[in-house]
Symmetry: C2
Subunit: 418 residues, 2 copies
């Protein structure tokens, strides 16, 4: 091990995507290890629009593990952080940087401390699965720093102990979190179903719902398993999962859409059937779903699938660019921005969809005609200000190392945030 | 039969209560006969606050069946009206008014026409089960006019063909609609579990939610039975029903409250699990439920049960007057009236609850302190204008004949609305 007087800092920076469950994870069979009661499936989102970047550093000069999230120091004392740090350290190997004359041997890692700086390129509290991307990135970057040899599947079982859905952010494309059977959770891992290129016509629009609602005190989902009479942890699910995976393999959008929407609705139904009931969706979520359902029915075949996680945001998956364009026109018609909102900050991510929709500025939004599927008798309703913003994105890749030092969030000299 | 030249009009006026399902009716096994897929239980509401009054008249001078609802003529051509009229006519008997020299023999009823005038003492479209009270009153008053000998249980099977829940308005107190097994629906009838005096401490507060929401196109509940994967038409329900009926018999409020709330939440969960999903409750409904849940939990034992039907209104059943008073204070704190609303029209029905709560005018509402169960850290939230009004009521009696002519809605000379 290098002398303590040596002031070297060794760093690794990685970027990890977030993911959206299309087949939900309904609850835990083990609260500490975070073992699910069912298999779940997610789509990884393009890190260009939604990702976490994490820099991890090690130095003999560090005297404790420290972490900064979005520039603010946070405590690592929670069990979930400790589980991840312990599991990664246990798998650390020798690391050598010949050029700089740094050599860390396996057993040194027990005594070396790390600094972690993490940054989300999207609002942390907006219900956009920041903890999934965050824990995946923490585990992935630490594994690279410590020369852990385990593949991403094995790493996913560690990330899972930070945040259940984090395990699915270790891969791009469509990813399945296999619930597993082992008591220690070793087989509760993520596997990639298809990569991000397999079904690249899909376009994803996230409607981030304005948070002026009463906060629900969300009980642990574990409570759901115990109190919902409707939840069914086994029956029928295996057949459903198989046809769902086939739909992804075959790019069969109607089946994919039907099962995605049904799973989301069923998840929220079960949440409502707990004691006390949990209402994650609000009126705005219901209106977005109503708008999608109406259009899908008028087209005779699904154009857009919808899903909502543990919050009011609606994630819409359009079958292709054309459908995404037509969906965005409908969304902007019903949910125009507040008059003081810049369109440029109202539709973010892949702005080319906005361009395809023929919308350049707020006047174009105001000029949008009511969708033809709205009956003439019913006056078209508008809900200004109910949506904070829309994110246009697509299926994306898994974690990557960022080798360009300019991406590092820690100072290479001090190991402190830049 | 009296000569056609005779201008007599024979009339009957009856009053029938509305009812609120505490164990919901989840769908139909026969759409035309309205046969349910499960037993349901309701509490009849005090007709002083919510009821339908119906006058039915017969005269040889009438040349067609006609009906007026709340003063406006409506068509009787619908199948549901026709079913009720046909079934009642088929059971008609001789009627004689010796004083007035009127005699109608059984077979005359086939050729005699009726006039029907019906009036609800509450807003018809406010989701307060006006069709239940309405069809019950139609059937009950026609049965009296035509000297039908069948008891209220048999009449309930006729009212059921007008509106499923109408069968439960043929009795006061707690009433069970037995789903029955017969294909013709003859055993799908209402039975009284206990009368309105059995559990007379209960106080019922109905929060009528302002209707500024997007209208849901509500599919027939029959669709639910076909498309919900969560619905379970048999399993476990018989045991649940038995303990529920015992709770009513024993005035066991904690069990009653727990099962009432669970049934309502489960009903709405199943509605959400249909394709397309049905969202009957809105954010206001969720907030009212949240307020009740929070208080119940802080008290350690349920003070108030809640239930919602196919709409956003919340029906709260308080264990006694004290609990109702404390509940009303909480409701008025969170949901104060709009500044231009008169308190007198904001809390209607049994206003003595308002008096017990120490509230005389709007200033008393404004002076209400936050409920103690609200944590100091969370600023107490207010939702002005989200509730249209509150109705305070109690369990009430079944149908009655109104013999005082001043209650009649038809002119005794002409048989036309007064």
């Amino acid at each position: 091990m290098a002398e303590e007087s040596q002031k070297w800092v060794l760093m690794v920076t990685a970027q990890t995507p977030t993911n959206i469950a299309v087949i939900k994870y309904w609850g835990k069979r083990d609260e500490n290890l975070i073992l699910a009661i069912n298999d779940s499936i997610s789509v990884t989102l393009d890190p260009a629009h939604l990702c976490t970047t994490t820099t991890v550093a090690v130095s003999p000069a560090f005297n404790q593990d420290r972490m900064w999230l979005n520039g603010k120091e946070i405590s690592l004392s929670g069990g979930r952080y400790q589980n991840c740090l312990r599991e990664i350290r246990a798998r650390a190997n020798d690391v050598e940087d010949e050029k700089r004359g740094i050599k860390i041997v396996k057993k040194d890692w027990e005594n070396l401390h790390v600094h972690i700086a993490s940054y989300n390129n999207f609002p942390t509290a907006a219900g956009l699965a920041s903890s999934a991307a965050g824990f995946a990135c923490l585990v992935y970057s630490l594994a690279k720093l410590m020369n852990v040899q385990e593949d991403n599947g094995k790493l996913s079982a560690i990330a899972r102990q930070g945040s259940g859905s984090a395990c699915r952010s270790l891969y791009g494309g469509f990813v399945k979190w296999v619930m597993g059977k082992e008591e220690n959770g070793s087989d509760s891992v993520a596997v990639q179903l298809v990569d991000e290129k397999h079904w690249d016509e899909l376009v994803i629009i996230i409607a981030v719902v304005s948070s002026r609602q009463m906060k629900q005190v969300a009980p642990q989902m574990l409570e759901t398993v115990e109190t919902s009479a409707l939840i069914d942890t086994g029956k029928g699910s295996s057949t459903k999962r198989i046809s769902y995976e086939e739909a992804i393999q075959n790019r069969d959008f109607p089946t994919f859409a039907q099962l995605t929407c049904a799973d989301s609705n069923q998840f929220h139904a079960v949440c409502m059937d707990t004691s006390p009931p949990i209402f994650y969706m609000n009126d705005t979520s219901h209106r977005v779903i109503g708008c999608v359902e109406k259009w899908n029915r008028s087209e005779g075949t699904p154009q857009v699938a919808y899903t909502s996680d543990a919050g009011p945001n609606a994630v819409l998956i359009a079958r292709n660019r054309k459908a995404a364009t037509l969906m965005l026109q409908r969304l902007l018609f019903h949910f125009p921005p507040n008059s003081d909102t810049d369109l440029n900050s109202y539709v973010i991510g892949d702005k080319s969809i906005l361009k395809d929709a023929g919308i350049q500025d707020i006047k174009d939004v105001e000029a949008l005609p009511p969708p033809p599927e709205i009956k003439d008798k019913v006056p078209a309703q508008k809900y200004k200000g109910e949506i904070s913003y829309f994110i246009c994105t697509r299926p994306g890749r898994g974690p990557v190392l960022l080798t360009d030092d300019s991406h590092a969030l820690l100072n290479p000299e001090t190991g402190l945030p830049k």
